[in-house]
């Protein structure tokens, strides 16, 4: 089985928008994870999620990978964008819509 780091890197590479979260988009298990997916639902952006609660190794390794101590973590176009706070701040400034557009090439 691939190491946690391999799983993290391939998931990031294969998804234009990827959210490491607690739970999933329909059943988020933490307020910050829920708020983060809500922003992307609001944008109507296509995104993938990984439930770190079902993969404790990924839960730890992803924090080292991004040098970011908390979950959720959002990656757009293979780049770490931030957690709930930053995603909301980028959404309010309109920057997130641009980032989604350039990553997905869709009219977000």
């Amino acid at each position: 089985m691939a190491t946690a780091l391999d799983r993290i890197q391939s998931a990031i590479a294969q998804n234009k928008i990827l959210i490491f979260m607690k739970g999933n988009r329909n059943f988020p298990q933490c307020g910050f994870s829920a708020a983060t997916v809500a922003v992307f639902d609001e944008l109507g952006a296509p995104y993938e999620t990984i439930d770190v609660l079902s993969d404790p190794e990924v839960r730890d390794q992803v924090k080292a990978y991004s040098n970011w101590p908390t979950i959720p973590q959002v990656y757009i176009g293979g780049k770490f964008v931030g957690g709930c706070d930053i995603v909301r701040e980028l959404y309010e400034s309109g920057e997130l819509r641009q980032m989604v557009k350039s990553a997905t090439g869709a009219a977000a």
Binding site: F32, V81, G82, G83, I86
Partner: protein, 85 residues
């Protein structure tokens, strides 16, 4: 139960890690593990949000991993802080 933190302790840690910064910390739930912090520092000049937050997290070191469950951050340069008031 991991010992929670006192907002003043959190404030001192950030000030130590970012000398010269203006720091305000609020315990948002009273439980000692959910906080909001405003940090104003010229070290944020030219840095994106992720880098700014990482500077604050680095100042907190292990306390961030073990004792702080949630830390909502507002990271501004002195100029941004002035223009907001």
């Amino acid at each position: 139960m991991i010992a929670g933190m006192d907002p003043n302790e959190l404030q001192r840690m950030i000030e130590t890690g970012l000398p010269g910064a203006t720091v305000q910390v609020r315990d948002t739930t009273g439980g000692g593990d959910h906080f909001e912090a405003l940090v104003v520092s010229d070290r944020f000049d030219g840095k994106g949000l992720v880098e700014r937050h990482q500077l604050v997290y680095n100042a907190l070191g292990d306390a961030m991993r073990a004792r702080v469950h949630a830390l909502s951050l507002k990271t501004l340069t002195p100029a941004q802080y002035q223009s907001r008031r």
